[in-house]
Symmetry: C2
Subunit: 179 residues, 2 copies
Amino acid sequence: MDVKTVCLGMLTDGEASGYDLKKHFESSFGHFFSAGYGSIYPALASLAANGLVNCECIPQNGKPDRKVYSITPAGRDVLLAELDKPNPSHKVRSEFLATICFAHLMTADQLATVLNNRIAEIESYEKLFDKFEHTRMHETPHGMHFTVGIGRALILAMKKYIQENGHELQGHSAAAANF
Amino acid sequence: MDVKTVCLGMLTDGEASGYDLKKHFESSFGHFFSAGYGSIYPALASLAANGLVNCECIPQNGKPDRKVYSITPAGRDVLLAELDKPNPSHKVRSEFLATICFAHLMTADQLATVLNNRIAEIESYEKLFDKFEHTRMHETPHGMHFTVGIGRALILAMKKYIQENGHELQGHSAAAANF
DNA sequence: ACTCACATGTAAAGAGTTACATGATTTT
DNA sequence: AAAATCATGTAACTCTTTACATGTGAGT
């Protein structure tokens, strides 16, 4: 399941442009699958070249043509085949945790900064989830609700753990002097 | 913070070979930072070329020379500079959640399989964490304990959420027929 | 007899991120 | 007057993954 496939899935909800899909990635998929324009536009071009989506160009004044994509029956088949995979991955890549592993080489200040910034990022995710639930909750399929629920459960668990155990960690950080 | 830097950090704990570091990645770092031989060996070669680690070659019979790496003062400086970054990332890339988003396009059987496999993987992580705590708990720095604690909190939160909400999701999956 | 652990490395392929390139309209 | 939104795309770069390549010794 790569960016192409996720784009295909998003298009089952209705036609959209690359720009629209980017918004969708940011608002609902961002916490577990991110993609920038540099991934999305080539993905759509590739899907179109393989007949998995159709593209309708809508001329505009000043701006580039708006290209609206819609999924084809062949695209739907490819998507369903992808959804049939029994073991989709769930991977974490955390420079945050890698940093924490070496907390004993950091000063208490450095550690506090890293921990506080993580909490701040978690809280911005909380706001994102709240926003999603207040605006899009009704129009989206149940699977989306589930992923938002998991996202929230995950960040709350992390926040709680940091708040309950962070101070203990700071007691073991290095002194300010870097000998 | 890339594979190179994590290797550098691991070497602050004592000298090790690429093979040893791979073990370390699997047993303690795997849940938030994975790396294979194809990343580790080139990383060590690059660190050695830049004088951040020293390499001692130990001839062996039959097997390739065992190359034992140790961190240099310059390497330590580079590591400390890396640990000074205030906003280390924490990224999730989940084909699992991406699949769940489109649960309404899957059969109840497909969905159950995906959910069960995820639970099974979570349980194998639980065992890994137990093993770590029973064997390496004492020798590792406090930061490691913290990361294992977060890892456990995260997978438990996910497991709980799936167990409490998974059946509700299955009520909304597609019928077996793919029209 | 077979498989697992030990032990290192290269090369090609695959995927994503970042920076660049352009420019009108709408909101603050 | 500045900033954000709309709107698309390419090219270079970075990084990881996978497959290949080789071979011994110990345990089951």
